[in-house]
């Protein structure tokens, strides 16, 4: 456990939280990781029309050791699953995952034995991005949403409290099979 996670709750922690959140959000280096057609849209985000460099994210790192964000762009085949997991495991903390496109999020149209039905079966996902494939603007939107999450993400004791609250909420929520109506 690092020092940041041992700070006592209070003014100091919230200041550190704010600063660390800003610094982390301002410098997210994605791992070079394209799996299928969504990867083309991910590359398009680097082009002049969309320019991911505005957020300081143009440094796609070739090695996961220097990456903060894994954009799972495309369907994950069963054969690729261990590779995805290994690369994710080798990224240093803190790290985030955007599941880009319906195939990565839920298997999408590939409802078959060869494709992992959602990459959240193997790695934790922070942002699900629908679309087949999503347009670059949608990916930018997902990135901005992720920035908001990172900026306000709690540290130390606050982080534990937030995790507890999330678990409570998940336990008390209505299971999907008991939901009625349009599920909107």
């Amino acid at each position: 456990m690092g020092l940041e996670e041992k700070l006592p709750s209070g003014f100091l922690l919230s200041t550190v939280e704010g600063l660390a959140g800003y610094m982390r959000k301002a410098s997210i280096w994605p791992a070079t990781f394209g799996l299928a057609c969504c990867a083309i849209e991910m590359m398009a985000v680097g082009t002049p029309d969309y320019d991911i460099a505005r957020f300081g994210m143009e440094r796609f790192s070739a090695t996961p050791r220097q990456a903060d964000l894994m954009i799972v762009a495309g369907r994950v085949s069963q054969k690729m699953a261990p590779v995805v997991r290994q690369v994710y495991d080798q990224m240093p903390n803190p790290k985030w995952v955007i599941s880009m496109g319906v195939c990565a999020s839920s298997g999408g149209m590939f409802n078959n034995y060869a494709i992992v039905q959602g990459v959240d079966h193997i790695i934790p996902v922070d942002i699900y991005l629908p679309g087949c494939p999503p347009r670059p603007q949608m990916l930018l939107n997902a990135i901005i949403e992720l920035h908001k999450q990172i900026e306000t993400s709690p540290l130390g004791v606050n982080r534990e409290a937030a995790a507890r609250a999330a678990e409570e909420a998940a336990l008390s929520a209505t299971p999907t099979h008991q939901m009625k109506g349009l599920l909107a």
Binding site: M1, G2, E5, V83, Q86, V87, Q90, P92, N93
Partner: protein, 120 residues
């Protein structure tokens, strides 16, 4: 300043202090959640080989480059005092240096002929 080399040590010390402090701070401050996969070597996500290529040994080609470097670098360093003292030494230095560089060229041509400068 009586000793002109001491300020170089100041710079060395400052650089080292900064680097060491940064690395140390990051070691203390950063999170530490290790697992087996994280500590494995990175080989594009596949199961890594237990050792680096060739068991961590270095291809012989690089030794050759290193030796050639030493030979030619020392020769170029020999040119420095000649160049600095050129206006004091006069024609003698000029003739001597041309002879020296010719000798270097012979060695160079030999290395070239024997394929020491081939990369594929």
């Amino acid at each position: 300043m009586s000793e002109p080399y001491v300020p170089i040590l100041f710079m060395l010390g400052l650089g080292f202090a900064f680097a060491a402090l940064s690395v140390f701070t990051s070691l203390v401050v950063g999170p530490k959640r290790y697992n087996r996969a994280k500590l494995e070597a990175y080989e594009c996500g596949i199961q890594p080989s237990p050792q680096a290529a060739g068991g961590g040994r270095i291809p012989i080609k690089y030794y050759l480059t290193a030796m050639l470097f030493i030979v030619f670098d020392i020769e170029s360093v020999f040119l420095y005092p000649f160049a600095v003292a050129f206006n004091k030494l006069g024609l003698f230095a000029l003739v001597e240096m041309v002879l020296f560089i010719l000798t270097v060229f012979v060695a160079y041509a030999y290395v070239w002929r024997r394929g020491g400068l081939d990369w594929d």
